[in-house]
């Protein structure tokens, strides 16, 4: 497999910020197909990559390449056809307790009959945290996403961006080791998108979370990532794994203006177009 191609000259100066930290999420030879016999459809042929603790990894690829399928496999929602995925070395068999998900379509991921606060509380109920701990987690999660005042609002009373913030707050309050997001900012406007991207970076900073983002937006992938996993072809394989490094902290203005940013996005764009 055309795995890591760290030798690409322009990225020779990356510092290994995460390689000395343990591997949190590992995917090895993952394959997924639907149906059987004649109607069998192979979506993913062979994917392998590793995400270290505290790292942000973006999975990019042309649309229809099976990114969402991969995510659902990682989240334990779909069984694998072959290979394995593991968190901290433990194979993922069902939805792992250490993982939280943010879905692409916020309108289909928040319960419209629950307020923002109740939605965030939903996955905490069975954890039996005790009222004070639970309340402080809820307050904190709402605070972090900037919705401290909107806890009693229903999702349909909030804008799209705010709804996605609620979904992120729900994931945060769950305190996962790994946060997995499926095209999380695809259906919000550009301004909100920048804000949410920065929120994502800040969360990693504050909680030392490992974050996996599936996106089709190359700029977003380059901006967020420590590592970009480019997948392509049908059925999907890893085209390239690309480490990304910019001066920290990143900012929408300075980071995006770096020549290295432009180089990286051009490189990824080429990869995706070849992979089509």
């Amino acid at each position: 497999m055309s795995k890591a191609s760290i030798e690409s000259s322009s990225f020779a100066n990356i510092q290994a910020r995460f390689t000395n930290r343990p591997v949190r999420l590992s995917v090895e030879g993952l394959a997924k197909s639907y149906g059987s016999g004649e109607s069998r459809v192979e979506v993913i042929e062979d994917l392998s990559f590793e995400v270290h603790a505290g790292e942000i990894a973006c999975i990019v690829g042309p649309s229809g390449v099976g990114k969402t399928t991969l995510l659902k496999c990682l989240a334990g929602l779909h069984p694998l056809t072959a290979g394995s995925a593991a968190i901290d070395g433990r194979t993922i068999q069902g939805p792992p307790a250490e993982m939280a998900l943010v879905f692409q379509d916020y309108s289909r991921s928040l319960m419209p009959w629950l307020t923002a606060r109740q939605n965030i509380r939903l996955p905490l109920r069975h954890l039996k945290l005790g009222t004070t701990e639970e309340a402080s987690r809820l307050d904190e999660a709402l605070e972090v996403v900037g919705l401290a005042h909107a806890g009693s609002k229903y999702p349909w009373q909030l804008s799209g961006g705010m709804q996605q913030r609620v979904a992120i707050a729900r994931a945060l309050a769950y305190r996962p080791e790994v946060l997995v997001m499926d095209e999380p900012f695809a259906s919000v406007d550009a301004q909100t998108r920048f804000e949410l991207e920065d929120l994502c970076l800040q969360i990693r900073q504050d909680y030392d979370m490992t974050i996996v983002v599936v996106t089709h937006d190359i700029d977003e992938a380059v901006y967020l990532s420590d590592q970009i996993v480019v997948i392509g072809q049908k059925p999907a394989i890893v085209t390239e794994i690309l480490p990304v490094s910019f001066p920290e902290p990143r900012s929408q203005f300075s980071t995006r203006a770096l020549p290295a940013f432009a180089e990286a996005r051009t490189h990824v764009l080429q990869l995706i177009q070849q992979a089509r």
């Binding site: 659902k72 989240a75 334990g76 993982m99 879905f103 289909r108 991921s109």
Partner: protein
């Protein structure tokens, strides 16, 4: 089942001036009053045996239902309706949940459910009378059987059509079975379930009357039919008025309850329509 909740047909978006609105309110209240008055006056000296004066009908209404037959006839009818409806909704929802959860059982039950729902529920009343006798149980059982199917089918359909996104949230966050059922799936299905429950209420009401029209002499339905058969037309009209009022009131109460239970749904829909 499509949830066509024919809510307010009058809500048109165009802005109207205040006098226009006042006129409409006058129309809404005025027309029924005028019609009732017209009925009252035109029937005043009626000698038509079928259409007695409204004054006489109201008089009989007062004599019969307030409160002579209240205890002997109105209360039994109403308690059958309420009890039968409540049991049917409970059974319908529980049965619907079981059928939605256990596919093989649903496959087994599907053909039978679809056949029995197609049978006009009133046609079953004679069978219950024959098997269970003329007692009150017969009436109750008839109501339950007639009213259970709409709720049952709506619950199964509602649960089956819960958005896969919401389901995924429930699974991804490791919600327990009861959380997924009570906090995710049932609320998501509730608009559809409530549409079924409303049909159940109507069926229960029809069969309440029908079961009283078969061979018993107690209950509002029985009294109304007996009045007709003995050409006591004012009594019959009084019965019709009472039944009509009960039918209307039961539905109005239901819609109030639904507006409360599904307030999130109606508000979200309004929000969606506005944007």
């Amino acid at each position: 089942m499509r949830v066509l909740l024919a809510t307010d047909t009058t809500s048109n978006k165009r802005q109207r001036g205040i006098p226009r609105r006042a006129l409409h309110i006058c129309l809404e209240i005025g027309v029924p009053i005028v019609l009732l008055a017209a009925w009252f006056i035109s029937s005043q000296r009626s000698s038509n045996p079928f259409f007695p004066p409204l004054a006489e009908i109201l008089n009989r209404f007062h004599e019969l239902w307030l409160f002579d037959h209240l205890h002997s006839d109105v209360v039994p009818s109403m308690s059958n309706l309420v009890l039968g409806f409540a049991i049917a909704v409970l059974l319908g929802v529980i049965g619907g949940v079981l059928l939605a959860l256990m596919r093989p059982i649903a496959w087994l039950a599907d053909p039978l459910i679809h056949f029995w729902r197609a049978v006009p529920p009133v046609a079953l009343v004679p069978i219950f009378v024959a098997t269970l006798g003329y007692g009150n149980e017969t009436r109750l059982v008839s109501i339950v059987v007639a009213a259970v199917f709409p709720t049952l089918i709506a619950t199964v359909d509602g649960l089956r059509s819960v958005d896969s996104g919401l389901r995924d949230v429930g699974r991804a966050y490791n919600l327990t079975f009861s959380e997924r059922l009570l906090v995710v799936n049932l609320p998501a299905a509730s608009p559809m379930i409530m549409a079924g429950v409303q049909i159940s209420l109507q069926s229960a009401f029809v069969v309440m009357i029908a079961s009283e029209m078969m061979g018993t002499s107690t209950g509002i339905g029985a009294m109304t039919l007996l009045a007709q058969q003995s050409y006591a037309s004012a009594d019959m009209w009084a019965g019709i008025l009472l039944l009509g009022t009960i039918g209307y009131a039961a539905n109005a109460l239901f819609e109030m309850a639904r507006a409360r239970i599904l307030s999130w749904y109606f508000k979200a829909q309004k929000q969606g329509a506005a944007s």
